[in-house]
Every structure is written in C-alpha cells, then in structure tokens.
Symmetry: C2
Subunit: 253 residues, 2 copies
C-alpha cells in the first residue's frame, strides 16, 4: 500500500456540507487530499455532466486547514475536472460523501454521490461512495471510522476494473454499529407522488414528493442497515442485458 496516497474527495451536498468535511478529516489520517466538490447542493443529479455551460472553479477554505475547489457543476463534473485539470496526477482513489441520506437500492441510479464514484471508476480509479442514513446532521463520527477502515482496505487490495463500493452507514453511534455486511442492492424504491400547487399568479407547478418502500429481502443493503450494520455493495455499470440478445434476434425486424 502506498504510504501517502493521493485521495480525491468529493460529494453531492456541496463543498461546505458537514459530511464532506467529516470525510476530509478521516482521509487526512491516510494520505494527501484534494477536495473538488459542487459549490452548492446537487442531490439527485445522477450522472449529469455539464457540456453546454462553462464550469467555474473557485478555491475555497474553511476551518482547520480544510480547503478545496468549489465547482459550479455536478459531482461527475468535479471528478472529471479534478482528474483532467485540477490535480497534478491521477488520484489513487476517489472518495465521495459522506452523503446526508442513504443511497440504497434504486437510489444509486439517481444519486450524485454514487455517480461521482461511478465517474472515478469509468476513469479507471478505485472509488467508494459513503452515505449516512440521516438527512440532517447525524452521527458522522461513526461514518468517519467506517470510511477510514474501508478506504484503507481498498488502497491495500484494490478493486476490479469497473467496480465501485457503495457504502451505507446507519445513523447510530459507532459503538452501536453491529458490523459490516457485504450486500446486494435491495428492492427499496422511491414511490413518486406529485403535489400540484397554484402560484400567486395563477400558474401551476408541481413538487415531487413520495416515500421509500421498505426493503425486506435477506442480503440487501436496506435490511443490513435497518439491522444496524454498515452495508457495502459492489456496483458495476455493465448495462447490456446479454441474456436477451438471443430473444431479440428472433423478432424479425
């Protein structure tokens, strides 16, 4: 293991979110850090990238020496830009989070936090996404210890090409966490509903709302986290459904 690895830290909650500061603190004990993160909250932007607008970058700093690049773009933009233009060399690992709110089951498709890790993986860099199951504040110290543990393991063992780790941490104190479970993405889905409202000028708009379903299948991220474990799910983006190619070939287009 590289004694002083280059670590790219990013997130989707914005560069001044408590979660990324906590992740920076934890990673400081492992290696050299570059922070490149959106200048404002970019939750649920999925794998959006900015191709039709210029991307502004500002160097910012905070308490205890925290500093980084605030990027007017998405998490995937941050990773691309950091690896291509902001960092002197390719990072040894991309670490994203600690997200405010779980990213389990289908969430990973919408998650900016996970997409940053996906982008790292597409660039050939081992990448990990961390999320905490609390949408406000939360027990970041437990997630910090978990992040340090897992990132050290990834730096030691590496990851196969195309595979990222999606980590979810229950929002409980570190001593209450029961352990780490390697899981699969669960069946937890977000059930949409839309609330229609009228603005003061008589025009309509909608708010997306809804709620997550419960996960109840053994071996899933949702069940592990509900039971007080950290879930680690290996994720890949090989999207071709090979099994269906033969059937499609019988369609006689």
């Amino acid at each position: 293991m590289n004694k002083n690895p280059n670590i790219l830290v990013t997130n989707d909650d914005g560069i001044f979110a408590p979660g990324i500061y906590a992740l920076w603190e934890a990673m400081n004990e492992i290696g050299q850090i570059t922070v490149a993160a959106p200048d404002s909250e970019k939750s649920a932007v999925g794998h959006a990238i900015t191709i039709t607008d210029p991307i502004r970058v500002q160097e910012v700093s905070g308490k205890n020496g925290y500093n980084g690049f605030a990027v007017k773009g998405t998490p995937a933009d941050c990773v691309k830009l950091a690896c291509s233009a902001l960092m002197e060399s390719t990072p040894d690992i991309v670490v994203s989070g600690i997200n405010s709110g779980a990213n389990m089951g289908n969430d990973v498709i919408y998650s900016g936090t996970v997409s940053a890790a996906t982008e790292g993986t597409l660039l050939g860099i081992p990448s990990v996404a961390f999320s905490l199951t609390s949408v406000r504040g939360g027990e970041l110290t437990g997630a910090q210890a978990v992040a340090k543990n897992i990132v050290q393991k990834v730096l030691e063992y590496g990851l196969p090409k195309g595979v990222l780790l999606n980590v979810n941490v229950p929002n409980i104190t570190y001593d209450k966490i029961k352990g780490i479970k390697v899981t699969k993405l669960g069946n937890r889905v977000f059930k949409d509903s839309f609330e229609k409202r009228e603005d003061p000028r008589g025009k309509y708009y909608y708010w997306m709302s809804g709620e997550h379903s419960e996960d109840n299948e053994d071996g899933t991220d949702g069940v592990a986290v509900n039971d007080g474990f950290v879930s680690i799910t290996p994720v890949h983006h090989r999207l071709t459904e090979h099994e269906y190619i033969e059937t499609l070939n019988t369609w006689n287009f």
Copy 2:
C-alpha cells in the same frame, strides 16, 4: 397487441427539437400520444431528477396538431410526472428521442434520452430510446421508419421487467440502412479534456471538451452503426456486482 396504445413521447433535446417532432409523427401512426418533454435542452443530464425545486409545466402546441407538456425539469422528471400526474392512465410504452447524436457505449450513463427510458422501465413500462448519429439535423425520416418498426414489435412482444431497448440509427437515408443488428454496448468512451479560459474580469472557467474513441469490437453498437446498421441494445440496471461479494467477504473489515 393493443389497437390504440397510449404512448408517452419524451426526449432530452427539448419539446421543440426536430427529433421529438419526428418521433411524434411516427408514433401518431400507431396510437394515442402524450408528449411530455423538457422545455429546453437537457443533454447529458443523466438520471437527474428535480427534488429541491418546484417543477413547472406548460401546455404548448406546434404545427400539424403537435402538442404536449413542456416541463421545467429533466427527462426523468418528465416521465415520472407524466405517469404520476399528467396522464390519465399509465402509458403502454415510453418512447424517448429521437436524440440528436448517438448514445452508444458509455454514453448511456450520461444520456438524458436513455435515462427517460430507464425511468419508464423502473416504473414497469416497456421503454425505448432512439438516437440518430448526427448532432445537427440529420436523416430523420429513416429514424422515423425504424422507430415505428421497433415500437410496434415492442407493443406486440413486450419486454422483460427492467429491460429497455437502446436504439441508434446511422445518419443515412433509409434506403442506405443495411438492416438492424442486436448489439451489446461497446467500448466507445468519451475522452475528456478541459479548456481553461479567463473571463473579462480575470476569473477562470473551464469548458468540457474531448472526443469519442472508436469502437472496434465485433457485436457492439458502435461497430454496427459505423457499418450502416441500426443497433438495438437491450439494457438493464441491475448494478450489483454479485461475483465480487465473495471476495469482499474475505477482506476482514
């Protein structure tokens, strides 16, 4: 096959793009259409959804009876909103495109066009994304005929749960198209580069640029389209890397 299916038409180039009008024309020959598409271009937004802003919707119309919902949101928003709130019943199929520009290989991760189809699939609706390998204008009549053919087949045979069809059409006249090939997503990737510029006030910004690599592996979408064929790739979003779970379990966290 339903004699008068409900078809949801969307895209990522915006509701007044030539490609969606062409798709609407082609689908008009098959069933009842609802158009719900972004009010402006949303290319490369991936699977972004709008959760922190209200979503405005305006009914718009164009030539020859073309009409639909212009949504201030992403392609995935359009599908969610149409299926949950704008349409009277769930559509029989979601059709996205015709995109201005190919969506092959890794493009599908960034593509708003494909993400609209992904969202349809997540909602349990058979979904197809169409892209034309031309970034301006192009031979839309060929793509129209292709779209009509494929959508009729999907309505007849259905698609397995979770599988969408990603269709790319070469930008040549219909009589020059050599046929349809069922393919896998290729190795074509976009190689990023960023151009740094200084604005008139001395501040820096970046433009994302770069270019696609060539695909040269047999059986891929890129090779089929380069050879003058339409490519149809079945795509799923089961993202768990099951093969790696056993290895991760040996990591002794």
